[in-house]
Symmetry: C2
């Protein structure tokens, strides 16, 4: 690495202790919420019984592919990991878990369920935030974990074809060896499945650079509710022969079919990467630096993240080293990442930006990573926000999108509202029922994450937040779910972001694919 | 511009005469083909009459918004431009042209047509290649030409919201003034409409860099067949609240709704652009240079096009200056374009590539543009191929996608087939019934354009080409229409690229949106 002209202005003061966000998965809290908005069990669905278990078992090649309390092949505790989400916020009572080892096996299972009116919940890595991947009542849990092979990779085109159950990080490591990168990255990468990523249209950290899955996914293999295998596993970048059916499954949250394989276009892995973090006085300054970064870094800008003081305060509670990152802290922080093919060129461009933002006083202080370890430590400042919130209390998570200039005002208005109700006595103070409201997000996508950290989940607190927060978003024509999806949490609130005409069209699409409503019921469109 | 280290190796020998591809629009040929595959008029549709004309007229704010031979507000000749395509290959007999001035007017028109069983063909710039935008029988022609305003542009996010009838070049010029670029470029830009681009999922020259419209289009406003205005005109980059309905309209060729406005994400306009053209001995060399270009140019590579000797021969027939471009011609040519934010960096990267491909003998000769004029002239070598083919004879155009290593073999096999039938007596010789088979395309997208230039359109020639060419594509799991769409030309052949399950799903989607089948009938899915 060539030292930057301005590197002396930056120091890497802290020695951080890395703790990946995936460790959250083992940080279960005890309070379980069963909201009043969860619909009652549908009477049209058959109740799973021992006969169903033996019939389903006969369709599977391995006895380990079915776990059930009904034939005592599993204890209730052994099914807990499938029945509840990692936040312990949602919990169902599915007595049967099926883990097919091939698309054909899944097809037989779904055909059987269709013929016997058995409802199904598809489950990938179970890392979602809206209760979309666990049963609400006694749905059959279909785990994709045993469909986990890479099918093919073409080094000329960069097209990867892989089973739905391949873990995102595994796919990316496979690609790294070939000099390519998966065009999606997110905190849960160590656990989430690429099939689940596509089913939920995951956005993540580098959407700014690589675009949405609607652009990068080239094809899908899907088992439809009646067991039909739909082979749309194209490896073509251009194909204008009819409606682009795969698009309907991207972000459909398992309601019209179960994705079994994904064909996706993967870019070359950048040979040079840099990351810098700044402290800034105002959200206006964040926006100004973002605009400068887009202009000066152009095609090498790969992420532009921000977090607020309250968020950094949470991170510092659990990380001594984070405290020593900046000599001059401030109200906002932004993280800039570059990815390119020529380290010298990238550093020159970044250096130009750094000189500008420092000389104009746009930023208060800054830190630039000098090596791979520091690179990951700086990213950790931003990525550990969710983990730090989870360690501090029970977290109400909101994931919204409104135009960038209006984005942060949502957090401010929400904070004012909570102060008015007396629930938030002081920012970050542990005395209040709500301990903190922390905000972070992706400037490149106008995507804000609001984490409201409370003593526990309660109806009173929820009523203070919802639907107020959705009303704020609707007033700006925003999205009440930028990337987390609807699941069970936001299904009743879709009307804040979608018109009655849109919802009616969605109902018709659901009805066309799944006339019995067996796939992932009680969620998404209710 | 800093001179490149290797620039002395390259010369700009020719003075080209620019002739934009759009001039093709006025180059009408006389032979008109009415293929036997065009279905008969549907008896369920009402026959347009004078009463319909006066009723429709009453829904429109301006008398100039309706042209019809039925009330003598237009002569048959005046409707010719709406009834036939620019190649004069397809021609219909629509007696009524409606040009609404607002989405609301269009909604009223469509409601009236729906209630009165009148079939409709939507028409943008009428620049398509598969007969998708002209009536087959007497459908009402709905032109979007009067919906041509930019609605808004946000300079922070780069999000443009514009009416469907805005001409692509107009949109791009508007954006250029703001320092942004439309994320799509194609030869017909001077005439085609952005709504038509979205309705046909146009690909074009820089898909390699900016991705497909499925990724860049953020929202649409669409009038549904019954006149309902569907407002999906989101300006959000991330929104996971339900099925992504807009995706169904992208590439639907006006069969389930008429797009009236588009919201699209536009990148910053690159401040530096370079273009180089090489001659190469083999298609293997083309692929090797492509692989090198992806590695060495990385994020600044914005186009990688190729054309063959036969294509260049056609171009040279009509351009004295093209003849002097290379000292050493060869069997293949490739065009490389870079777009970046720092001219010096880009030239250094390109220079590294040029040195490599010259020193290793991968290329025979090369030309590098030194200024904007030369930039356009080099592009013209590739872009004028379609025009040169059209000047030489009647052109059978095929637009296919197969994996890159197999791509050129399609042209070779087709050429061999035509030689066997005796239709092609010698490459480029004017004696044969088929005068030339020229191939060019987009390596970045594995998209090959085969132009078969004949004395005229004839059933015998067509039978020699089709379905043989589609069978070749199907054998490689390719697409028989990479970017041109299905229209009337390829509708009967969709089975070569799509499974019966896919076609059945498409039929159900068509039926769901358009139960009377009034929108763009006889095409797409038949």
């Amino acid at each position: 690495m060539v030292p930057l002209a301005v590197s002396s202005l930056f120091n890497m003061r802290a020695r951080f202790t890395l703790r990946p966000i995936q460790s959250l998965l083992s940080t279960r809290r005890t309070s379980v919420r069963h909201g009043g908005t969860i619909p009652p069990r549908a009477a049209t669905f058959a109740k799973p019984g021992p006969d169903h278990v033996s019939s389903l078992r006969s369709l599977l090649s391995s006895s380990s592919s079915l776990l059930s309390t009904l034939d005592e092949s599993a204890t209730p505790e052994e099914l807990d990991g499938y029945n509840q989400d990692w936040m312990n916020k949602y919990k169902g009572n599915g007595p049967i878990v099926v883990k097919p080892k091939s698309t054909e096996e899944l097809s037989k299972v779904m055909r059987y369920c269709y013929d016997n009116n058995l409802a199904i919940v598809p489950q990938g890595g179970n890392t979602g935030l809206v209760g979309g991947s666990i049963p609400i009542h006694d749905e059959i849990i279909v785990s994709l974990a045993n469909l986990n092979s890479v099918r093919s990779f073409d080094e000329v085109s960069g097209i990867l074809v892989a089973d739905a159950g391949v873990v995102l990080e595994t796919a990316d490591s496979f690609l790294a060896e070939k000099g390519f990168i998966f065009p999606l990255d997110l905190g849960a990468k160590g656990s989430c499945h690429i099939g689940g990523n596509v089913a939920t249209n995951a956005g993540g950290l580098r959407l700014l650079r690589y675009g949405s899955l609607h652009g990068t996914v080239l094809g899908l293999e899907v088992v439809l509710p009646d067991g039909t295998i739909w082979n749309g596993l194209s490896a073509l970048r251009k194909d204008n022969t009819g409606y682009d059916l795969k698009q309907l499954f991207i972000g459909s949250e398992g309601t019209i079919g179960i994705i079994t394989a994904v064909s996706i276009l993967c870019p070359r892995r950048p040979s040079a990467m840099n990351v810098a973090v700044f402290s800034l006085p105002t959200f206006e300054a964040v926006q100004e630096v973002f605009s400068e970064a887009k202009g000066r870094l152009g095609e090498i800008l790969s992420a532009f993240e921000f977090f607020d003081k309250q968020c950094f305060d949470l991170v510092k509670r659990h990380s001594e080293t984070a405290k020593n990152t900046f000599e001059n802290e401030s109200n906002f922080y932004c993280l800039i990442e570059t990815s390119g093919s020529n380290a010298e060129h990238d550093e020159e461009k970044l250096s130009g930006l750094l000189e500008h933002v420092l000389s104009t006083g746009l930023v208060v202080d800054g830190v630039l990573a000098q090596d791979q370890t520091q690179f990951q430590r700086l990213w950790h400042l931003r990525e550990s926000a969710a983990e730090a919130a989870g360690k501090t209390g029970s977290v109400y998570k909101y994931d919204v999108s409104v135009p960038l200039p209006k984005m942060y005002s949502l957090a401010e208005k929400m904070r004012a509202r909570l102060r008015e109700t007396g629930l938030l006595e002081g920012d970050g103070q542990p005395e209040g029922r709500i301990r903190a409201l922390a905000a972070y997000g992706h400037c490149g996508d106008s995507n804000l994450h609001i984490n409201i950290v409370a003593d526990g989940y309660s109806a009173e607190t929820e009523a203070a937040i919802e639907p107020y927060i959705y009303e704020l978003v609707a007033a700006e024509n925003g999205s009440i779910s930028a990337e987390h999806g609807l699941g069970v949490m936001k299904a009743p609130h879709i009307g804040y972001s979608k018109s009655p005409e849109s919802i009616e069209l969605m109902r018709r699409i659901k009805g066309m694919f799944d006339p019995k409503g067996l796939l992932n019921p009680y969620k998404y469109i209710v």
